[in-house]
């Protein structure tokens, strides 16, 4: 018997499990795969793909002004957590930052890891690609960025990681190469060599793929900044981005260390109520097993996460097999079952893409709801 069962291990699921565990609750996490966070940029947007500000965001997600303080608490709590697990996020929901993606487009984001630096209006920029990483093309990035920021002086270069493989190398692979000191030095030598002839008047900012180390990101970032004598940023693009993987790996380890029980490679295939208790059936490798909890958190990420499926008859909820409306919101939610993040079916953008900030806030708010419910239970007892 668990106090809390979380279904799903994306950003929403992992955060919800960690927050609940920190309240000393007995927590299980049930998951089919790794969660969609691996496909993300690791940036915490307000409204992805738009420049909407904080008050517009509050309105869009139906949050009242009264809740503003709680929302800020949630964000500060997230910042504290990322600092604790060694991957600190910075930024401000009241002052969105313009960061560049690997396509060269600028996007507004609220929170971002320290490896990211917002793009200035003017200055000298060098975009550095790696020969082996085909997902990141400096010239392509330059073309688009120049359109958005005409006052920037942009140059590009490509250097070699010095590694080959028969498999297509990704940003994450490059990041693991950069975790090694010798590789970093080899790469920095190449960049400095090129700087001698082509970029003699100094540089304000270097743009790299989202590949500046995984475990050693702090060392990579500071070494690059100090040796290149400029600011350094990552431009996330096609997954897997090291920016997202760092967060995912660390959140997962934190949850395991705190004692969250992971039922991985399982699927929920049954749900019933036994009084106030939630009972779910999970499909393990070999048979079904029942798990019980006081509270059940659905963090299955809407359509994108697989929690909802688009069928000819409309949206189908895949976890508990309950009916949902056109937006994917539960029509008749049983007691002590809490959809979190994209599972709430607010569907303000598309396909359950809610933006990182909403996941952060929703996980936090759900936990408060659970706390209140437990308090009521105690008062009654």
């Amino acid at each position: 018997m668990y106090d809390v069962i979380v279904v799903g291990q994306g950003l929403t699921g992992l955060l919800s499990a960690i927050v609940a565990r920190k309240q000393n609750k007995k927590v299980a996490l049930v998951a089919k795969g790794t969660g969609k966070m691996l496909q993300s940029t690791g940036l915490m947007d307000l409204v992805p793909g738009s420049n909407k500000d904080f008050s517009q965001w509050m309105e869009l997600y139906g949050l009242s002004n009264r809740e503003k303080i709680t929302v800020k608490d949630a964000i500060n709590e997230f910042k504290r957590l990322t600092e604790k697990i060694g991957y600190e996020y910075v930024g401000d929901v009241d002052k969105l930052a313009n960061v560049v993606t690997s396509s060269g487009h600028l996007k507004s984001t609220a929170l971002y890891p320290k490896t990211i630096t917002p793009i200035p209006e003017k200055g000298r920029i060098v975009i550095v690609g790696f020969n082996e990483i085909v997902d990141f093309q400096p010239e392509f990035l330059k073309g688009n960025l120049q359109k958005e920021r005409p006052n920037l002086q942009i140059k590009t270069m490509s250097v070699s990681l010095g590694k080959d493989s028969q498999r297509t190398l990704t940003q994450l692979d490059a990041a693991r190469v950069l975790d090694e000191k010798d590789n970093r030095e080899q790469i920095l030598r190449q960049i400095k060599e090129k700087m001698k002839t082509e970029f003699t008047d100094g540089v304000d900012l270097f743009i790299f793929p989202a590949a500046l180390g995984v475990q050693q990101w702090e060392k990579v970032h500071s070494q690059f900044c100090s040796e290149l004598k400029a600011m350094v940023t990552e431009a996330p693009g096609l997954p897997p981005n090291a920016t997202a993987i760092r967060l995912h790996e660390r959140l997962r380890k934190e949850a395991i260390k705190l004692g969250v029980r992971f039922y991985t490679d399982t699927e929920v295939n049954g749900f019933s109520k036994k009084g106030t208790i939630n009972e779910i059936t999970i499909k393990m490798n070999n048979r079904n097993a029942k798990l019980e909890s006081q509270h059940l958190l659905i963090c299955t990420g809407g359509i994108l996460g697989g929690g909802l499926e688009q069928t000819a008859k409309g949206l189908k909820e895949t976890t508990l097999q309950l009916s949902v409306n056109k937006e994917g919101a539960y029509v008749d939610l049983p007691d002590h079952v809490y959809p979190v993040g994209a599972s709430l079916g607010t569907n303000v953008i598309h396909y359950g893409i809610t933006g990182g900030i909403y996941s952060v806030v929703s996980s936090y708010l759900t936990n408060l709801q659970i706390e209140r419910s437990d308090m009521r239970g105690l008062q009654r007892a």
Binding site: K32, K163, K257, F262, D265, N285, N286
Partner: protein, 405 residues
């Protein structure tokens, strides 16, 4: 048509999202491996109804199963890679060394018969150098010790007489290397009033699958399925202390043999800690444990994590008063069964083990707990902490309870 063409359709759901490769322990330490996405679903897509492709890089797959647990679409990636291994072995031949390593049972029988000599010889440097030269087993790799008094010589009860009956699939490791784990399990069951029978059994087949010996592995799987079904049909539960054996019976047998019998048997397979947890949930577990004041680190084997059973070892050990256990949240140990013994795989094995060695050192617990004998082998080599099986700790906790008259 190739003999090893096999029916497996889950790969059709692969979206190439990379979740498997991102999480693959080997892909994360080496570019030499093609990665599970490439050598699993992509290779299968290329080969289906067409020519068989032999890709030598598949040798680096350890069949840890992390890909399966990472996949959001339920693609059976490790089934695909194990067949890619079989194809590679068939097309390319199998090294004499891999045949020996894959036959853990035969090695166990022989080595335990000459146990004192085996153990001593394996520690002699020139012998190990010669083994590297002749057999391709790395000279620096430490071997588990073998026991003359193997578990088969110690206990051979064929039938249980109590109401709840357990048939124990011992596995090669607990039979030949660590009979103390098997003894402890029998004792723990005894403290719970459960009689344990030992059915006729052969090696579960995991080392065979890992070395591309699919046919021999399937033979063993079939033998074990027939033998154990005789027990389950009489109301026995099948319990195992090795998480790789357990995983084979729960997952691989069903997806490789594809028979109703294998499916039926899988329903009755339990990891030892999982079984005790069920007893506890039913309120029948003997929880009269003595206090053990210890701070220990838990290392979760990949084949345990892949079973989707949560963390039963910690759930049970946490019931012992005074016992503080912390999951170290470490990734794959790198021994990976026979993989870490091989001369050319040894560097990868050590690279993988680095992370584990670091967390063990950081936690600085009294000792380490894990269910897997092969993970223990790597831990023994890379850390200075003693390694215990959960059953050994539970046995002590029961035995230390003062007898009141």
């Amino acid at each position: 048509m190739h003999e090893l063409s096999f029916h497996e359709t889950t790969f059709e759901k692969c979206l190439k999202c990379n979740a498997c490769t991102v999480n693959c322990p080997i892909s994360n330490v080496s570019f030499d491996f093609g990665g599970p996405k490439h050598l699993g679903p992509e290779l299968k897509r290329m080969m289906d109804h067409q020519e068989v492709i032999d890709d030598a890089r598949i040798e680096l797959c350890t069949l840890c199963g992390t890909c399966d647990a990472s996949c959001p679409e339920n693609v059976h990636v490790s089934t695909l890679t194990s067949y890619a291994k079989a194809i590679h072995a068939e097309e390319n031949g199998t090294k004499f060394r891999d045949l020996i390593l894959s036959n853990a049972e035969l090695v166990g029988k022989l080595a335990s018969t000459f146990a004192p000599i085996t153990n001593m010889t394996m520690k002699v440097k020139p012998v190990r150098k010669a083994m590297q030269k002749v057999l391709g087993i790395h000279a620096d790799r430490q071997f588990p010790t073998y026991e003359f008094s193997n578990f088969k010589r110690r206990y051979n009860k064929k039938h249980a007489t109590t109401e709840k009956k357990v048939a124990y699939f011992t596995g090669c490791y607990a039979t030949y290397n660590a009979p103390d784990v098997a003894d402890s399990f029998i004792k723990v069951m005894e403290y719970n009033g459960i009689d344990v029978a030992i059915p006729e059994q052969k090696c579960c087949g995991v080392p065979m699958f890992a070395n591309g010996q699919m046919k021999q592995g399937l033979k063993n799987a079939q033998f074990n399925t027939n033998s154990l079904l005789e027990y389950t049909r009489q109301g026995y539960d099948i319990v195992m202390t090795c998480t790789s054996c357990t995983s084979a019976f729960k997952k691989e047998y069903a997806s490789y043999l594809k028979t109703e019998e294998a499916e039926e048997l899988a329903q009755h397979i339990y990891d030892a800690d999982e079984y005790l947890r069920i007893l506890h949930e039913e309120g029948v577990l003997n929880t009269n444990f003595a206090t053990i004041n210890a701070k220990v680190g838990y290392y979760a084997p990949c084949h345990m994590k892949g079973q989707g059973i949560g963390n039963p070892a910690m759930d049970i050990l946490e019931l012992i008063p005074g016992f503080e256990i912390q999951d170290m949240a470490a990734s794959c140990c790198g021994q990976c069964g026979t993989f870490g013994f091989k001369e050319e795989k040894y560097p990868y094995s050590l690279e993988l083990g680095k992370g584990l060695a670091t967390v063990v050192e950081e936690l600085d617990a009294d000792y380490t707990v894990t269910e897997c004998g092969m993970c223990k082998n790597q831990l023994d080599q890379l850390t200075n902490k003693q390694v215990k099986h959960p059953m050994q700790i539970l046995k002590t906790a029961y035995e230390k309870v003062p007898v009141t008259s």
